[in-house]
Homo-oligomer: 535 residues x 2
């Protein structure tokens, strides 16, 4: 039902393959990393080789105009984009639990009709934006209470409906993907600038439902702070909040749906804050000989009220891997942006702080107009954007490359990152019998603490990749919880993080969410298995 | 039960009376305003003249160590600090619905014990921090379902328990009042800097429960953004959230209690973000000949990423009244603060924006170290801090001086303020048969819109002040809702704002809150009449 078809098992459009050169570079890197001569990639799955279970229910006549049970659509909506999703597709050809139907809803009435159908027939309803979930957010449940699954694809709700240039805000349908959103905003000179790694294939509604975090490292980090108001369709009716910049009138209704992950209702529309397109940028990289000093510098910058757009501290081994550094120093990618004023005083003070902590910066980069796209910062940026495209190829070779991310106060950070890295590396060793890597960077920063982002690599056994992945992921996740962090700063919960979410959130609060869920979704059709279970 | 006794009917401590000179100044101002020769103030009530209803229930032996039914304590907890609260006390000597007991709880176990007592005996429990509510947040209910009222005074939970200087945060008991909090923080060099007008007599827990807003006009406006984690005692048990700077793990538990106004649980403790005490300040006032241009300048500053600590635009008539201006120009009180860096580039750019809109600033103030405490800005500041002390004296003279405040996007602001002022002035004229005033300033600013704050004055009939006040307040409030704003940006809901809150919040969301309330507070003992009613 789309012009360019998305790959049903991997990242992006079918034609946007990874190039031979790019693949060779990565294979070389991985071979060196794991001390192997080469790889024998498993072949990618093809539609024709897969026998799909027949739909477990027929689509009612009244819904046939926008619901389908076509094989491609069911295949494409069978999984998100986690390592174990990909491993199940590539190594096990496991498409045993596809949705039985996919609803390409055109408006709120369509959504309500599908939810009614689900409620009357013991069907699960899975909201689906871009399908980029790395945490099992869009997988059909295997719960026996449901006689079938309908995935609700929001892709047709992709319009910017209204732009308020004075207030710098827009009313936007929730199914729009990142690039389409920015294209529709472009003529206004405004931008949402919510450039998460999955930007190309994730939706505004998905960002809101999962509390994603975007481009800005400070102040406007999470989507929460970009939302003025929401429209949400629940099985029991519509909830539309009032559009105001802020209010003190009771608990904020939007905050109940921010992070609700499709379990309390389906977000159809939002008024969101925009930014003027930045016209002035200053960017450089700062090298630190001592990691603790680098952390102290970033903390001081964050607590100084300077609000850099970016202040990503890459630990030296991570910097080396992404070619943002040579491995001899920790690297801070530091960027200030403005649509209003020259930034030298801001950057000068931030660099002064870096200097106080032994940092040495690239002065030349400061005089380059597009320095964040070239040099060390540019290398890092390119690797960041291409990352998702590589995943399926890594997994086909038995290479697991995954990330866990958290947030923790500064006073506990060094101990926290020590523990997470140690326990992740131990698990890799134990599970795969081979050394792996686990490195850390900061993605977002708060005055009281950073959001650390851990990337790990392990070479596993292709036949056992799912179990191996889970063992390592579990060790890393439990380490984050044990050391006082959150199970996720912006990757969301999905089904994959339930074990640790259940340890993190207060029990009685979960009872409160259950009570809301019973009121909004009494038949429990929405995204089963996520957040809370009905009693 | 306190060393210095608070006035049971008015603001502050009994000995901190308004001086004769101060009173003369205000009487003069009011006489000029309402074109009258003078005033005959009603005498203030005294404890001895009031006959109090006997307590409707006895305090159980197990609670007698911290619960009392003393007359003063019951009187003091009978009202908050709204105009109609004061009018009922001063003009009607109406103390007909006091709490039957006051519990000075010492720890969470005491709170749980009181809630258990209330639950088993059909008693209402009213959480009480500083008692500064101007919206009926602490008044005992007149609901017949309750056989009595117990006010839970949190004043003994007033300790800073832990300070984390690295992360700039503290763990604080919820009953602490503003000055006590700052005193306990002082040695650390850190400050919460949450200087709302009721700062002296409002508590951290109250700020959180009512979503108060503090000192900073931008970025760190509402208490919401200062909270790392909470401890809340509900009738069904404790909810303690995890201390992290940010998380994407499901709906934020803290956000359910921020704005819950004591209806879902009693906040006992919070980890809150602090700031380093500012060492560098730049402050000035900017005069604008044209209000629309002044608004445009403030909007541009707010959207520029400059983040001033203060940018309070006083409409010319309001500036004149508080002696921040002579009435010939609108006045912007503009302040930048830092504990880190010189602020000239920030202020220069903000003033350049003002200049583009015809603003003329006080250059001399920029070179004064404490300019925000002197000159026009200083005059404004003094009037602001003394405001609450004047209220009872105004009301004794039949002078109603009240405020309504909201938040609205920039595109609708000018129309919004027109409508609110017009309908408020009409109501004053109609209700009192006399002209009054209604002026506006900005208290807090967002990139997408300001928080306008309206002050109105009317001279009423002392015998009918309560009804007259309500008629005017209702007109102003309905105007804010009709024009698209929120019923409150930071004054809270209380019982007084229910009519407009019910229009503002989505109906089905209220059903969700009710469901949570049933789960946390199944006997509905907590703060009846606020937020939602049980079915």
């Amino acid at each position: 039902m789309a012009d360019k078809r998305r790959s049903f098992y991997g990242w992006g459009f079918e034609q946007d393959a990874v190039s031979v050169d790019e693949m060779a570079w990565f294979e070389g890197t991985w071979a060196k990393l794991f001390k192997v001569d080469g790889f024998e990639p498993a072949p990618m799955p093809s539609e024709s080789e897969i026998d799909l279970r027949a739909p477990r229910m027929a689509i009612p006549k009244t819904l046939q105009a926008f619901c389908t049970a076509e094989k491609y659509d069911r295949l494409f909506h069978s999984y998100g984009a986690s390592v174990h999703d990909l491993a199940r597709m590539i190594h096990h050809r496991d498409f045993s639990n596809p949705p039985d139907a996919v609803a390409y809803v055109r408006d709120e009435a369509d959504i309500q009709a599908v939810l009614d159908w689900c409620g009357s027939n013991d069907l699960a309803a899975i909201p689906f934006g871009g399908g980029s979930s790395v945490v099992g957010g869009v997988n059909p449940p295997s719960d026996e209470r449901y006689r079938g699954t309908v995935t609700i694809n929001l892709g047709k709700l992709n319009k910017v409906l209204e732009i308020d240039k004075t207030s710098q805000a827009a009313r936007v349908q929730a199914g729009v993907l990142g690039p389409d959103l920015e294209n529709q905003l472009r003529a206004s000179g405004l931008t949402m600038r919510f450039f998460l790694q999955a930007w190309e294939f994730s939706s505004l509604g998905g960002w809101i439902a999962t509390r994603a975090a975007g481009h800005f490292a400070t102040v406007y980090t999470q989507i929460d702070d970009h939302v003025e108001s929401l429209r949400v369709v629940t099985p029991e009716g519509l909830i539309a909040s009032r559009r105001v910049p802020a209010s003190g009138a009771g608990p904020n209704p939007d905050r109940l749906f921010l992070g609700s992950e499709g379990t309390l209702g389906i977000i159809t529309e939002a008024w969101v804050r925009l930014h003027r397109r930045p016209t002035i940028r200053l960017a450089t990289t700062v090298r630190f000989g001592d990691y603790e000093q680098a952390v102290a510098a970033v903390r001081e910058i964050t607590q100084a009220g300077l609000y850099p757009a970016n202040a990503r501290l890459l630990e030296r081994s991570e910097a080396a891997f992404t070619e943002a550094g040579d491995g001899s120093a920790d690297v801070l990618v530091l960027t200030f942006e403005s649509a209003d004023h020259p930034l030298e005083p801001w950057m000068d003070r931030a660099l002064e702080i870096c200097g106080d902590h032994g940092g040495e910066w690239d002065s030349e980069a400061l005089s380059q107009a597009e320095s964040q796209r070239s040099g060390a910062a540019g290398n890092w940026r390119n690797k960041f954007l291409r990352g998702p495209y590589l995943r399926e190829h890594a997994i086909a070779r038995g290479v697991m490359r995954d990330t866990v991310e958290s947030c923790i106060t500064w006073d506990r950070y060094l101990d926290f990152q020590d523990q997470v890295k140690r326990r992740t590396l131990e698990a890799i060793r134990e599970v795969t019998g081979r050394e792996g890597t686990c490195t850390v960077r900061f993605t977002h920063l708060y005055p009281d603490g950073p959001a650390p982002y851990f990337t790990w690599h392990a070479l596993g056994d292709k036949a056992a990749l799912v179990e191996q992945f889970w063992a390592i992921k579990s060790a890393a996740s439990q380490a984050m919880i044990d050391a006082g962090g959150t199970i996720t700063h912006h990757h969301a919960l999905g089904r994959d993080h339930r074990t640790w979410y259940d340890q993190e959130r207060p029990d009685l609060f979960a009872e409160g969410i259950k009570a809301v869920k019973r009121r909004f979704d009494p038949k429990a059709v929405l995204n089963p298995g996520i957040l809370v279970d009905p009693d």
